[in-house]
Symmetry: C2
Subunit: 303 residues, 2 copies
């Protein structure tokens, strides 16, 4: 937990440093691997560089760092995680799905490039996610490790992960759902990829099985906390910082932790979830400091 201003400043500096580090790699990789710019690569790239926090790559790197893992071997997986995350945003925003016109203050992909191109750009991002880690990482990793890393990435990004969450979300539209159903949606849409990011980082770093398991559980609760804070910000956030109108969930009659619990109980639930997440790192064999910083960043963020 952030205990004083010095810690908070160090955490902010860490986030900035890691974001620049991740961005540099993503930029250099994409420029090297996409020699000629076309409409689809422009649509895909503009979505990748539309102001994302790079949370999943940073979690992946931080998990690896906490176990003294080799950064060069982690970076391809960081890129893959961000590509998967970006594809889910591009497709989530489509007219046939959430029909969102802006994200982080920018027009969404289909607004700028048209719906057909946005569909194709999203698919391109997903396909690229699976090619980049293999093309870069296969030389470092054993077949059994590649198999396990891929399984984490593909489960989180496919029909048993984020897509299962999106389907449940679609079916839940505009009507009340029990808490269990909302937990299912967020577990699949958000938490699995965050948890995969942490596990991938630790696996590439050669982490022990019990530590991988701790990070899996920590990640699932981290993802849940992320989503509760998202719902809270939709009510009490600052429109300028969020880059989207406040209250949009309520206007679209979306079931959120606020509609389910009310603001005050949602805030209490957020702190309970964060505390349960921290518990899982008590016996972690690596250095959990920065992982805990990231959790604090997420539950205290204003955008």
């Amino acid at each position: 937990m952030i205990t004083d201003d010095t810690d908070a400043e160090m955490m902010q500096a860490y986030m900035r440093e890691m974001r620049v580090y991740v961005d540099d790699f993503i930029r250099s990789f994409l420029f090297a691997s996409i020699p000629t710019e076309t409409l689809i690569t422009r649509a895909a790239k503009s979505s990748i560089f539309a102001g994302g926090k790079r949370l999943r790559p940073i979690l992946c790197l931080t998990a690896a760092d906490s176990l003294d893992g080799p950064r060069q071997q982690i970076l391809p997986w960081c890129l893959a995680l961000e590509l998967v995350h970006t594809y889910t945003l591009v497709h989530d925003d489509l007219p046939a799905l959430d029909n969102d016109d802006t994200r982080r203050g920018f027009p969404t992909c289909h607004v700028t490039y048209g719906e057909p191109m946005a569909i194709l750009a999203g698919l391109g991002l997903l396909a690229a996610a699976f090619s980049s880690p293999v093309s870069l990482a296969a030389k470092y990793q054993t077949p059994s490790l590649i198999r396990r890393l891929f399984s984490l990435l593909s489960t989180a990004s496919g029909g048993r992960g984020v897509l299962a969450g999106q389907v449940a979300d679609l079916l839940a539209e505009s009507h009340d759902i029990p808490q269990e159903e909302m937990l299912f949606i967020h577990h699949h849409k958000t938490a699995l990829l965050i948890s995969a990011a942490l596990q991938i980082g630790a696996l590439v770093a050669g982490g022990r099985e019990d530590d991988i398991e701790r990070l899996r559980k920590f990640g699932e609760l981290f993802g849940l906390a992320f989503q509760i804070q998202d719902d809270i910000l939709d009510v009490i956030g600052d429109e300028e910082k969020l880059g989207k109108p406040v209250g949009s969930d309520i206007r679209s009659h979306k079931a959120t932790f606020i509609t389910l619990l009310g603001l005050e109980r949602a805030q209490m639930f957020l702190h309970t979830v964060a505390e349960r997440a921290r518990q899982h790192l008590i016996d972690f064999s690596g250095d959990p400091t920065k992982l805990l910083w990231l959790l604090d960043y997420v539950i205290n963020r204003d955008h």
Copy 2:
């Protein structure tokens, strides 16, 4: 070239046998890996079992067989190829792209399951394509071979492959395009995945580099021949056998080899392309018989 009725019968029997073999594997893999049926898995599965010819898996297996490759190690890649092919059909048919209501005589995925579910099912198919070969094949193949196989699959299915073709196709809609542009579209939309199928089969079979290169070129011309026959069938095909109305390309003002060359010259071009394809297998070190059968099947098919 098919020389008499006996050859034609043997070829038909071979196609049937291979299709059953591929279907059995696809069915058993999908049933084992998808324990609970949901709306998205139902949408995805119904697209996979909607009467496809399994041409890409059959090409992959035939290339491997021609070099005495181990079938069990090829099958996961066959599945991946069919999953990629199916995702391209589901997304191609979407209202925002080709807006097709029927395919092979069946309602298309978005007609049965709605557009949002069809988008998600297509993404699920693409994600599954990348997980199935790794989860099954990583135990057999070396990291450098995995890397190469993945590179073939992901290039053909991503922004430098089928998606580049779809973008060019979109931009070419409803106006005349030069032959060069049409060749670009078909090379990317059709030929690259067919060529990848052949190369993947040969690589898993431990094929020599010169044979891989022969199959790459053979595959690219095979894919072109496939597309020319597609355009010809749109003019002279039998609606019942095709499972779609004849003349739909003309009605939608699509540029085809018929609009470009006329029927007679398109038929001559088809035979020239097929002959050039055959030339590439003259020095092939394996047994090319069945690969040539498949080429004859494709240029003589009636659906």
